[in-house]
Symmetry: C2
DNA sequence: TAAACAATTTGATAGTTGTCGAACTATAAA
DNA sequence: TTTATAGTTCGACAACTATCAAATTGTTTA
């Protein structure tokens, strides 16, 4: 994983609202239901006090940083974590 | 590790120059010499094309984010990685 | 096809951040 | 105690970012 990619990921996670969005997706990925790995974004994220344009913007940033993968399903957008990138980030932080 | 702390760490690592500084310290920590865990900052970092005020500023950010620990040794500042924080960040990224 | 719903794009703005030069502080050496 | 070296603080400014309202695009349902 190159420097540029790491920095992009860090930047994507360095904003509070964007981090919350990421965690919402992360958590919805953990559920054991048949809906696993799916997150109907604008549903889950209503709590955050920001408008849809901003959410859209943040999702694009997370997506550009390869932290999440989004996909249109009908009228909705579905998101899931890009586990590869997370794993790479985790490895980077292994000191040893 | 609370959300606020994670975000602060991410933000600290999301700037190119700051990331390079962090990596310089990280790498100097890995050396097996008797100087292990020490990094005479303004020495190591001369390559980066930024002035000392900026470096000082970046070091403070890294320090405030608990990513490094700095210490004055005579005229110099010595820095080392705060392994606890790195470990915590690493754990956070373990999906499982 | 029209209406309704879901999300994106655009344009603008307020706030944040990285950077520097100049002035300052701290420590060591002469 | 003067001079030199190392680092910090301050004030300013350009560049970047988060946010929103308004307009637009894509998708489903009536």
């Amino acid at each position: 994983m190159n420097t540029k990619k790491v920095i992009k990921a860090m930047k994507a996670l360095s904003n509070k609202n964007r981090f919350e969005i990421f965690m919402a997706i992360f958590n919805s990925n953990k559920q054991t239901s048949f809906e696993k790995e799916e997150c109907f974004i604008y549903d889950t994220i209503e709590k955050l006090n920001i408008g849809t344009p901003t959410i859209s913007h943040h999702l694009k940033e997370l997506s550009n940083a390869d932290l999440i993968i989004t996909e249109r399903r009908g009228k909705n957008i579905v998101a899931r974590i890009n586990e590869d990138t997370i794993k790479e980030l985790g490895e980077l932080l292994n000191l040893d």
